[in-house]
Amino acid sequence: MEALTLSLVKAVPALGAAPLWAVSLLLMVASGVVVLVFALTFEGVGSLVLRKVAGDIQARIGPNRVGPNGILQFLADGVKLVLKEDIVPAKADALLFKLAPYLVFVGSFAAFVVVPFGVGLSAADLNIGIYYVMAVTSLVVIGVLLAGWASNNKWALLGGMRAAAQIVSYEIPVGMALIPAVLIAGSLSLQDIVRSQGGLFGLFGWNLFHNPFTFFSFFLYFTAAQAETNQTPFDLPEAESELVSGYNVEYSGIRFGLFFLAEFGDMFIVAALATACFLGGWNVPFIRAEALPGIWGSLLSLGVFLGKAFAMVLVMMWVRWTLPRLRVDQLMRMSWKYLVPLTFVNLLGVSLWLLVFDGKGIPELIASLAG
């Protein structure tokens, strides 16, 4: 941030008169606004795309009334959500009830801050990036549990409990599956992790193809993350058929909308982390985006990163409309009996690989053999 501030001051001499902290603050607010606008846009458009994809897969049409081919549907939905009556149940704990959706939304939105959108393009390049994401998305558990508890409704409470149990259980495999990327890069910063995957090998420089264990790690991460964000094969907290939509039954209007937005935000975060940690982030095969002159490097890397992330989001939706919902015991068994041991084995495998082959991946080994 400081370097950015200094470079901005250098670029615009008029800012030199203002104190450094003011320029810094201005930059922070600006980047926050940009990220917020991006998050909201993605969440809106994401909800539309989700329904269109669902329509195609289920041989339906999907929204097609508002605007050409229905592309303005999410705006109409947003307006509807804002205008709807805001109901707080009479016997609910009003303060906690009102607080919960904000916690959930903040938990999901705050993770956007460290997403490495491109070369140097992230609101904050924290040196504890992945750790920060894991910590901040845990806020969602508190929000969800709070929503269930404060609604004073048995179904909401059950839904909240289930959501909390699920998110907490799946946080372990998610974390464990991300650690291989951290090991290979030797850094927790997402920018560093992305940078570690560049190089001469193009596609094969990505962590996904670094060694067999990282390959499996990616799929384990993707499965666990899908569950952590309550995506459909694992959407037990919502289970509308048994739980009348779970922890958010009592919510209406924009409060419900915040839960909804948070869910789509989580989807993007999951896809972005998968991209950054396994799919080479903003790296373009055989092009060094950092070396491009001026703004082009940033733009190219931004486009590539978003492309990869959106493709991952599409895959998530695809999975979502393919698999049927798991039962509670199946869900827990999947996490504790399969994903957790497998991610540990993978972590061990990656560590051993790095130890034995001196940190080299398969492409490097082949190259050294050939050379």
Binding site: D56, I57, R60, I61, W318, V319, W321, T322, L323
Partner: protein
Amino acid sequence: MGLREYMNDILEAVVTTAKGMRITARYGVDPKEEVTLQYPEERWEVPERFRGFLHNDVKKCTACTMCVKVCPVDCISLESVRGADKKMVLASYDINIGRCMYCGLCVEVCPPKSLTHTGGYEKASTDRGELILHFIEEDAAEVKARVARQVAEAAAKAAEAAKAAEAAKAAEAPEAADPSSEAGKAAGGDPKPAKEEPKE
């Protein structure tokens, strides 16, 4: 659970997921047919024997009240008067389609086949009153008054004709007073012709 079983479980999960995703991908990329019916513009083609809303062709209806009697939920009601030609005239014919259960008994039992099911099925309303179909536009009392007037006119005409005939007969050959008394009785009975209501 042995290790082999454990590994088999994982393999099965991966394989079945891949299979499922292949199928959904095929649909996602190439949705062969849309099952969606774009309702207000496109409509479902109603089968021939569909039991939609009831319709009564009041021109054919004989006000026999069979439909009223057979209806299990009492959703049909009618009022009628006896007309000048001794036939029943409908004063009102209402069907409460909010109550109707589309059993079709009334249609089966209708002697002149004037009651039929249509293909109609859209009549959502926020007011239950709108769910009562009135097949006779006019007010029942008006119809009754009109029919009564017609009957009275017809009776008066008949009486006049009878008187004229009697006079002619009398002019020809004055005989017994029997036919005149008959005509007089008919004329006298006419002012309240058909107040009977077969509805009950």
